[in-house]
């Protein structure tokens, strides 16, 4: 399952969805909105996430195909939030189940690294001094 959503991400629900009786391992990465950023002038109150939804979903589909091609895993879930999130809210989750842990660790790491490098998603931080777009990196071609 891969998607972008305006709804709160339910970590327990994701765990139940990725779980499989044939698997002895689940590895997941959960990204959260933190209350500071090294480049911010003040304490972060929240982050607005903007996405190019249609393209993000295409890229997530490609990442999903790549992990199934490269690792012997059972299920792969990647969900990214959009809209305004407060500190502590989940912004992204990648969860993988496999028979053994090694494949799940590697596939999960590949998933989140590639989401960060390849998905057209932008963050705008809210602090007590105002709102500011986070300086990003050139999208990986």
């Amino acid at each position: 399952m891969i998607l972008t959503t305006k709804d709160t991400i339910d970590q327990t629900k994701i765990f139940d969805q990725v779980k499989d009786d044939s698997c002895g391992a689940i590895v997941s990465f959960t990204g959260l909105v933190r209350d500071h950023n090294s480049n911010s002038k003040g304490k972060v109150e929240g982050i607005f996430y903007e996405t190019y939804d249609e393209m993000v979903e295409e890229i997530l589909k490609n990442i999903e195909k790549e992990v199934f091609k490269n690792w012997n895993i059972k299920k792969f879930i990647a969900v990214h939030r959009t809209g305004y999130l407060q500190v502590g809210e989940i912004s992204v989750i990648v969860a993988v189940s496999s028979e053994h842990r090694k494949e799940a660790f590697e596939a999960c790491s590949y998933g989140i690294e590639n989401i960060k490098k390849r998905c057209p998603i932008w963050k705008k931080e809210k602090t007590q001094f105002g709102n500011e777009w986070i300086e990003g990196v050139k999208i990986n071609e």
Binding site: Y52, M55, I115, C119, P120, W122, K123, V137, K138, I139
Partner: protein
Amino acid sequence: MNLSECATLKIRLFGILREKMDSDNLLISIHDTSISLKELGKYLKELCPSLGLNEINFVFAVNKVICNGDTNVKPSDEIAIIPPISGG
């Protein structure tokens, strides 16, 4: 270029670019039925200096795929300017 024909391209904007233009897209007239992304980038820098494309490391996406400057685009393509990303 064939000056007897012209076309309008719709270019989607996101993040800081959308905010700068206060719009989700730009409509650009070109004096031909297609244009390379290299030419389009140069044209946009001249036509819309307020976009600030000289100051950021942007790329184009065509039909949801990142494309290089040699790619030709036409009105039926979904064109987007992708400023530096910061997801996760």
